[in-house]
């Protein structure tokens, strides 16, 4: 029998209340709880007090606003999967959400919780890095914005400090873009062995901007920066995609574990990055033709 560690429980009545509670020592946010509670069972997390923010409806939304997709931190995975606005502009979100855990877990796990969990194998970190999203972190003195590419300090560690709460993720909507996410897992609903997300902005067949995110393979900030640099200004061709993917595979740092040896993971990075770029380009062309 797995029992969570001893803990006290507070329910936040408002964002301000949550921030006040989170400023106290040993208080920790409880959102969907689908990572935190299992970690408490294993004693990998032993917070003194949980601050339940599930009642804060003002943090649960997905909207298109002023050329930006705005995702409230408390939006559930299922909400993002069901969002037409998100899927229309960023099919990468729907690709990824279809392979995050299982449909029941997706009803409760939150988008913000995924980012804050900062698990190296978690899918949305690479996705938000690929689309160059911005995290809006709320504190008692107001909001501060941090690029998702600077949000993670390392495994299970983010820039969100005591007395702060991730409130929103913002993604700029750019014309002429296509995006995709490709993942290999050992079985349905499992963590990635490796995965790659790609965002391409095409200008008459030329890559004007590229975003490549990598999951579970030790990529710094979940990004394949060298591959992005290579692609920018190049033609959107199979040869260039394969070359970029090879660069991505060479620059990440996969660790051999029960999910596979290092060379297999590098092979996956190259193949999945190629596939993600190919699909992203295809979607960009389809949108341009529509």
């Amino acid at each position: 029998m797995q029992v969570p560690s001893h803990v006290e429980y507070e329910r936040a009545a408002s964002v301000e209340h949550a921030l006040a509670l989170l400023g106290r020592p040993d208080h920790r946010v409880l959102a969907g709880g689908h990572s935190l509670i299992p970690m408490m069972k294993l004693r990998l997390a032993q917070p003194g007090v949980l601050v339940d923010i599930n009642g804060l409806a003002e943090l649960a939304y997905i909207s298109l606003d002023g050329g930006q997709l705005r995702i409230g931190a408390l939006a559930r995975h299922a909400d993002l999967l069901d969002s037409n606005a998100a899927g229309q502009h960023f099919p990468i979100f729907h690709d990824a959400e279809r392979v995050v855990a299982d449909p029941i877990v997706r009803l409760w796990g939150t988008v913000g919780g995924s980012l804050c969990q900062a698990d190296p194998s978690e899918d949305l970190s690479a996705v938000f890095a690929a689309v160059r999203a911005t995290a809006v972190i709320r504190g008692q003195d107001g909001d501060r914005s941090v690029p998702v590419r600077e949000f993670h300090l390392g495994p299970y560690e983010t820039v969100v400090g005591p007395g702060e709460l991730l409130a929103e993720i913002r993604v700029p909507v750019r014309p002429g873009t296509g995006s995709a996410y490709e993942k290999v897992a050992r079985r349905v609903g499992d963590w990635s062995v490796a995965a790659a997300g790609a965002v391409l902005q095409l200008d008459q067949g030329t890559v004007s901007q590229a975003g490549i995110g990598l999951t579970a393979v030790g990529a710094e900030h979940f990004v394949a920066a060298e591959a992005e640099d290579f692609l920018r200004g190049k033609n959107a061709t199979e040869e260039n995609f394969a070359a970029a993917a090879k660069i991505a595979a060479g620059h990440c740092h996969p660790v051999p574990d029960q999910r596979g040896p290092e060379d297999y993971k590098r092979h996956l990075v190259a193949e999945l990055t190629t596939r993600a770029l190919r699909r992203a380009a295809q979607r960009a062309r389809e949108r341009a033709a529509a």
Partner: protein, 159 residues
């Protein structure tokens, strides 16, 4: 320290003083005696513990009872109404959807939720929605058939 958890389960109001770390599945089984929901893998993988929390299925081994305070829970005990089985329950009988029965309460609660949203789901949709729940007896074929049976015999018995 304990906290008071007041929750409506299957239309009945209950209140108990419990430890904040108590999981919803144990609250239902040990505090309320509602043992229809099963406690399985304890790691949100198997789905034997699926109940509804505010109209949506949840793996009750991965939420705290405290999180359900003030909310509405529905368990497998509520599928039967006035001595009449829910079509999902009848479907599991007709199509041999269970053998040992351990996964069944969770399977049926998810199936009921699916059918309320989509009364005529394709086989692929049924398999997708049940993909986070494990059966080690029947191999899923009969479970999918059971849900389809319920879809085809819904008239007059749906909630």
């Amino acid at each position: 320290m304990t906290i008071r958890v007041a929750v409506t389960v299957n239309g009945h109001e209950y209140a108990r003083d419990v430890e904040p770390r108590l999981l919803l599945i144990h609250f239902l089984r040990d505090e309320l005696g509602l043992t229809g929901s099963h406690w399985g893998c304890d790691t949100s993988n198997c789905g034997a513990c699926v109940v509804w929390l505010d109209q949506r299925p949840v793996k009750a081994c991965t939420v705290l009872a405290a999180m359900a305070d003030g909310h509405i829970v529905r368990t497998v005990e509520d599928l039967e109404r006035d001595g009449r089985l829910d079509p999902v329950q009848q479907g599991f009988i007709e199509c041999h959807g269970l053998q040992c029965g351990f996964c069944t309460p969770g399977m049926m609660m998810t199936a009921r939720w699916l059918l309320d949203r989509d009364p005529d789901p394709a086989e692929a949709e049924i398999r997708e929605v049940l993909s986070g729940q494990v059966c080690r007896c029947t191999g899923y074929e009969n479970i999918v058939r059971s849900v389809r049976w319920a879809a085809e015999h819904a008239e007059g018995t749906a909630q």
